[in-house]
Subunit: 301 residues, 2 copies
């Protein structure tokens, strides 16, 4: 018989679970909030965790905002969160460059992405450029591309994140750096191909980068969930004991896979996109535990 | 023993070959010209073919120019070519919409591509739009995208060709039309992922369209070489006897595959990228015949 998720509902089970972990890594949407609305009991549950010296870490694959911008959202909801608890795919990318691989000080990173992403990379002590390619008029012409885009050995990495100002010149530059310099890394903040908007979805970083993946002569390195790189960055930064770390999320195919791929205990909450019925009617992804929501922890206060 | 290409060098073999075909389909670069330089003997060979009532058709996967623009290049080289002999992937796309599938008169096509591509589609009696999305300032913002991009049942097809003015709004619109309207076709002028420039290559239509392929809920239909759609359009337009039609090109992996995939006799010329040595040292793609160049036909005058 296949393994089943264990439901945390009994107060003793919840308490035992709570005592078994030092660190909780949270996905935000569907766990902490839904769009801009705080989910019931979350503030109290996070306060309980802080009081019990649990480390709480908030992860998001959104690469467009710096942690500072993201922190404002937590502050506006009066949540007991420190800016250092936030781990976005932008920050993960910056941390990977600055701390994990010690990106050389004399090299530069060409960034396709937002100001927020560039800021995170620069804050990690890494030279970044690319924002100036949000060119407008005169748009771009073939001759300009031929003349201006040249291989450049000083470019040690290309980073691609979500970018609504994507254009041909950026693709052409990124491609030239990646393919003409064998040392040049090819990093992508996150592999998500769409993100939700009202009644639809729009292209995310994973599809914005698709032209480069098609023509690059090397494999891209993805940094966000569900990659091992994301968990390695988090683990290195906070010096975590991964045996006492739990990934908490509402999505089977991202959050739970993220935990499972990286051998971390997984806890599914039912306050987001996955219902108990959906969980039960599939057997591809089996979280270790599931719970109604973070509010359930408050019964152990 | 594997089949080998037959080399046309003996005058009798060349004459017999010449008499066996009514139509020659030519790739241009490496066969007719190299960049802007006419290859030796080509003008005379084409004149010989015309005199002998051979049909000569010139195919290119370049989707950026209308046939008129392309025709100017032939004229500037004093070649005996009629505008109707030119078959670009832009024209092939237009012909497919207008003649092969009889695209409805009350529907519209959203085009990501150049003016030349839009002109070809309009000339085929098909309503096209999209050029107005080469927006400059104010660039684009999320709110504008949410508000302005809506599913639209009047859009019966999205066409993507090479486009140096590609931007996020175009991807978002194309995606919305393709995914929200089950009837909406998804056409791509050609599948080439790069095109050559000085000392390098740059992204072509096949990579420009990659974000849409990543997120579309249907398979794209490609129109250029080496697809059957291209040969079907050519065949329908000229009412060809494909048994008496020969594909002439310099590239094994595109031109020769194009002929082979579509059961047309293939003739490789050695005036382009493939040398006799390269041809002999591989056994993946075996053209039916090969010849030094079009100039070799002139010995039968």
């Amino acid at each position: 018989m296949a393994k089943k998720s264990f439901k945390l509902e009994n107060i003793n089970d919840i308490k035992e679970f709570f005592d078994s972990y030092d660190t909780f890594i949270f996905d935000c949407d569907g766990v902490i909030w839904r769009a801009n609305n705080l989910i019931k009991g979350v503030k109290e549950a996070l306060t309980l965790m802080k009081k019990n010296n649990k480390r709480t870490i908030f992860v998001t694959n959104n690469s467009t905002k710096s942690r500072e911008e993201y922190f404002k959202k937590f502050s506006s909801l009066n949540l007991p969160v420190d800016i250092n608890d936030i781990f976005s795919s932008a920050y993960s990318t910056a941390y990977y460059l600055g701390k994990v691989i010690n990106f050389p000080k004399d090299k530069r990173v060409y960034v396709i992405g937002t100001k927020g992403l560039i800021k995170e990379i620069e804050d990690a002590g890494v030279n970044a450029f690319g924002y100036e390619d949000n060119i407008t008029e005169p748009f771009v012409n073939e001759e300009e591309i031929f003349k201006s885009i040249k291989p450049d050995d000083s470019v040690g990495a290309v980073v691609v994140g979500f970018d609504m100002k994507i254009n041909y010149k950026k693709y052409a530059k990124a491609y030239t750096y990646i393919n003409h310099n064998p040392e040049c890394l090819f990093l992508v903040t996150n592999s998500d191909i769409t993100y939700p908007v009202q009644n639809s979805v729009l292209p995310e970083a994973g599809s914005v980068v698709a032209p480069l993946i098609a023509i690059a002569n090397k494999e891209p390195i993805f940094l966000g969930k569900p990659t091992a790189n994301m968990i390695n960055c988090i683990s290195q930064k906070f010096n975590l004991d991964l045996k006492r770390t739990c990934m908490v999320g509402d999505r089977l195919d991202t959050d739970m896979v993220f935990g499972k791929n990286n051998n971390i205990t997984t806890l599914l909450v039912l306050t987001g996109v996955t219902s108990e019925e959906t969980l039960m009617n599939q057997n591809e992804i089996i979280p270790d535990y599931y719970i109604e929501g973070l509010n359930s922890f408050n019964q152990i206060i």
